[in-house]
Amino acid sequence: MEKSGFRWGYAIFVLFFLALIGFIAVGFISLFAGVDVEDLNGNVAMIPIEGIIVGTDDSDLLFESAAASPDIIELIEKADENPNIKAIIFEINSPGGSAVASEEIANAVKKVNKTTVAWIREAGASGAYWIASSADHVVANRVSITGSIGVIASYLEFPGFLDRYNLTYRRLVSGKYKDIGSPLKEMTPEEEEIFQKNLDLIRDYFAGEVAKNRNMSKKDIDKVANGLFYLGVQAKELGLVDELGGKDEAIAYIENKEKIKAEVVEYKTDKGLLELLGDVSSRQSFFVGKGIGSSLFGSSALKIST
């Protein structure tokens, strides 16, 4: 048995030394895990949908903000599963994007078993409006840009450019339409007709979904689903928006409907340090690989966006 005697000074030093290590450990865990622990309590989830709507997190938009549908859907499901969360506000600031990704998010919004409110800020156009229309209530600023119900697939064609530099597009296809939409050749009237038919189909589906979400007749939706954008105040008159306002109006709607005092908590995909570092290196590798791939197997530039 040790007989050195008890030294209170040493004991107090140990306690505070370990507490300091504790603080550092908590800091590291939060940093590496990407947990914003201060914000996890609350009864109203706020999910931002910002930037171009894309289908994958590793899109080409290195320097632009993008709303990746898998991330947004994960946040929606998380908020829906949390029994503390009584309602969800979608803070929308997006010009639209991929038709598929927009529909995926819109479907996820519709599946939510809680009150949902779309709050359109600067812009909630095209695919972003599709998502907004899926919510129970749509709030927009009077000068927000919204609507733009339509589909776009325009692209640049380069055959003249190739001719000028004496380059030849050697067409090697098995299947008449395999290189439809290739920017290296001129689109034939027949191909254009096929394209237009498909775009019209997507537009009809898009408009049909909005009509269903907003309880609008076919006649009413056809009047507005022409690709034109509307200011918030116009959208309200056309029935595309329920209320003019901002965050306060969105919260007031929820408080009134759910009879709660709203405590808003932001749900967002915070990335930890490791994830960010991994992301940067994987993006660099991706672009190097993509550059090599594109030069070898250049593909069609065609993209269909809402």
Binding site: E2, F6, L18, G22, I29, L40, N84
Partner: protein
């Protein structure tokens, strides 16, 4: 006849009483919770939403990233608890709780070695098979003649106190 010059008080060292050991442990836990583990409290409170039942919390966390964060937090907390006992028992053979209850840690064979001090506190690690010690340790302490926990038997250490004979 010449009188024997015996000391007025005689002391010997024996196994610590169970109630004293429990009291010392509770004091240590309280201190750990108040000071050392204080930074983790906010983290845990924020991660476990309000009004959650155990099953709801389990379902919410099962298979999510939060579950792995909580594992890391638990692991960090257990390391700090082990360090608390290790640093104090290594230097002074006592923790604050043991000091207040006048208990000591002793090795079966002389001076305490670092591995012995780590081994006797291994039950703090919240990983199988160490969590079995949460049940086995108290059972051994109550039913063994020397009041030793299983991890104390394995680490060849014991908690003792001084007894006086007047």
């Amino acid at each position: 006849m010449k009188r024997l010059d015996l000391p007025k008080e005689r002391q010997f060292i024996g196994p610590a009483l169970v109630w004293k050991r429990i009291a010392a442990f509770l004091i240590d836990m309280m201190i750990l919770n108040l000071i050392v583990l204080f930074p983790f409290r906010k983290l845990f409170q924020s991660m476990l939403p309000k009004e959650y039942s155990f099953s709801e919390a389990y379902n919410s966390f099962a298979g999510t990233m939060s579950a792995s964060y909580i594992s890391w937090i638990s692991f960090a907390m257990s390391v700090l608890a082990i360090l608390y006992f290790f640093m104090l028992e290594r230097k002074m053979s006592q923790t604050i709780g043991k000091r207040l209850m006048r208990l000591y840690v002793a090795g079966d064979k002389g001076k305490l070695k670092a591995w012995q001090l780590l081994a006797r506190n291994i039950a703090f690690i919240p990983i199988f098979p160490f969590i079995l010690l949460w049940v086995l340790d108290p059972l051994f302490m109550v039913f063994s003649k020397t009041n030793q926990r299983l991890s104390e038997i394995l680490s060849k250490t014991r908690v003792v106190e001084k007894y006086s004979l007047d």
